[in-house]
Amino acid sequence: MHALRGADFVLHAGEVHALLGENGAGKTTLMHVAYGLARPDAGGIERAGRPVTIGSPAAARRLGIGMVHQHFTSVPAFTVAENVALATGGRAPAVPAPGDPVLAALWEGLDPEAVVERLPVGLRQRLEVVKALAAKTEILLLDEPSAVLTPQEITGLMSAIRDFAARGGAAVLITHKLSEALAVADRVTVLRHGTAVRSGPVGAETRETLATAMLGEAPAAEPPARPRTPGEERVRLTGVTVAPLEGRGPGLRGADLSIRAGEIVGVAAVEGNGHRELMLGAAGLLPPAAGTVAVRGRVALVPEDRTTEGLIPGLSLTENVVLGRGTDAPWIRGAWLDWGAARGATAAMLPAFAIAAPGPDEPAATLSGGNQQKLLLARALAEHPEVLVAENPTRGLDIRATAAIRARLRDAAADGVAVLLYSSDLDEVLALADRVVVVTGGELRPMPPGATRDRVGSAMLGVAESGR
């Protein structure tokens, strides 16, 4: 099986080129080919009209190609300067380079002596871009650089990318967000099943044309959400203080929150500001150091990271369902486990939640991300919880899987579940939530009804309310 099948891609100097496609369409693989991390079985690469072989990232960097990966690649215990030196083989000065306004703008607020693990997520992401640009880079490859940023930070990053292109650089931007591609890019290429199915200037495109090209068919309209009527209070947090998880960040301080049956409360926060402590505190997994968490009914959790927190990849689907369903499941008989009953329940979950899996005995690792996430949600809802706490339930999923998960969350709320939802994608929070709260610097701030995207974004960055 090939991740790419005869894909063509042309990048011009001075352009920002958006690369779109569903999960598994081959976007990252295509960029890995250009960066020397993957070797094509057929086809070749030309740089400025001359055929080249790019056998390693070092070779790519010699050709002026830099890459910002989907996940952070800095050494957390090193300083900013040390990480820049590491990324450039010590060739670049590990301090702001004079004469390059793009780099100078990126360096702003970045202390060369700061230890990376203590930096907020926005600055860590900026460091990734600095590292990619530091060694006389002419071609910049960015793999979903905005996934963890707030609207304001995204605006800053995008203008840096535009400046880079305006000065003759060429940038590739892999993104899931069609609006981002339309706003920033000059040209766009869409990959589907490893083939470039559409490529051209962005001016001719709309959200619909791009989505259709990605899916191979017009996207299904979202079903109208069933009406939700908030009922009795299910969760009440009163003055809850939670110590920082793993000793990092501010933790949660003095949070008050009420969640009622049948409503979705959305949590917006920049990574590392205490939202995790709020979610896990509400789920009863982190005991409050002060204050009280009062919950009526059972709480089910869909944790942040599906492969290390939600599932154990090496265990079968059945075992993973047993793991998450707790001790009141029908297959628990005192100290004994009735595997037959558990297996049957798991097998029934697969079609009910449209989970594409060969069977309940397969290891969870063999499922795609979207199906893993559906399994997590199926498992959480199987115990008919009164409260559902969901962290980033659609992270990294494609359009269809995302739509399926969102529909399940809406349905759960319509069925009377009290839902607490965190998403690092602010648009998702705004799309799903009846009410939004922001966690910043360890403090919980409720947003007024109808708060705009910018307003929430400012609150996430801790900007004072009074200024607006």
Partner: protein, 353 residues
Amino acid sequence: MIAGVRFPLRVVGLAVAAGLAVLAAGLWALGYDPVTAFGAMARGAFGSWHGFASTTLVRAVPLIILGFGFALAFRGGALNIGMEGQFLAGAIAATWVGLLLAGWPGVVAVPAVWLAGLLAGALWVVIPVILKVRFGVLEVITTLLLNFVAESLVSYMVTGPLQEAKRVYPQSDLIGAAARLPLLPGTRLHLGFLLAVLLCVAGYVVFTRTLWGFRLKAVGQGPRAAWLSGRIASGTLLGGALLLSGAIAGLGGAVEIGGVTYALFQNLSPGYGFTAIAVALLGRGHPLGIILTGILFGALQAGAGAMQREAGIPAVAVAVVQAVVIVVVLLADAAARRRQAATVYPDPAPGEA
């Protein structure tokens, strides 16, 4: 496969064959006759029922018991490298109780000796458990270091409080006849073999059919998911598993005293606590597999003795076989992991969702 314990018979067979081949090549290169050597080994290990039962199986008993003890903690992700020390602690306590209960009937003395071994073994792992659960100190280090303390304690005991009445040799008196384990008539095979087998069978049931066994596995394979999705307090669970593992190792010491030596002396264990790790790894942590690999290693040691007597080849030569076996099994593991990674991650199939 719900239990998630699989015993790869083919890999084990291949590993043993490779080990014997390397040993044969080494012997040949050094001018020995491999045929003679292997003949002696085979006769020593399997040559007669009496030899098989009295040497191979008797050697296998501590390896099976300790191998299971290691597998139990390992299932939860803890490495109990201190079984040698726990074995000796169990042996000390068993000797003491065995001497004390000299005049008592066997139905009392034998269980009392076993209980003493269990408690002493568990006691020997209490400090590592507290350090691990409370402060996150690696049990690999703490359990290993306590081995040396246990060895010194044995030396002290056999020259001090537990030294024989004659005060000549650094060893204890023989424990009372009632505290000794019954033997299979006509052999030196003692009741401890049955105990070892039953222990492994019980372990298999616990691993595959109980909630505790499943939770232990979950903590071993994904501690973070066990906490966040399973709401399992992994520290408590692992602490319990380590205590049990230590208790089982202590029981191994008590069985060795009650079934084989009847007395405590220095160098009581020829490294059972370490060989048992190899036994457990080769058996892939599968309790029933450990019975098999325990007997296999018992046979190797029995055969080594015969080889030394009959062919003049030092018994330690079989360490080569043990080493090659471990390397081959680890290589097979790595290859399997790579195969699995290759089949899993070209994600996702078109048409997902």
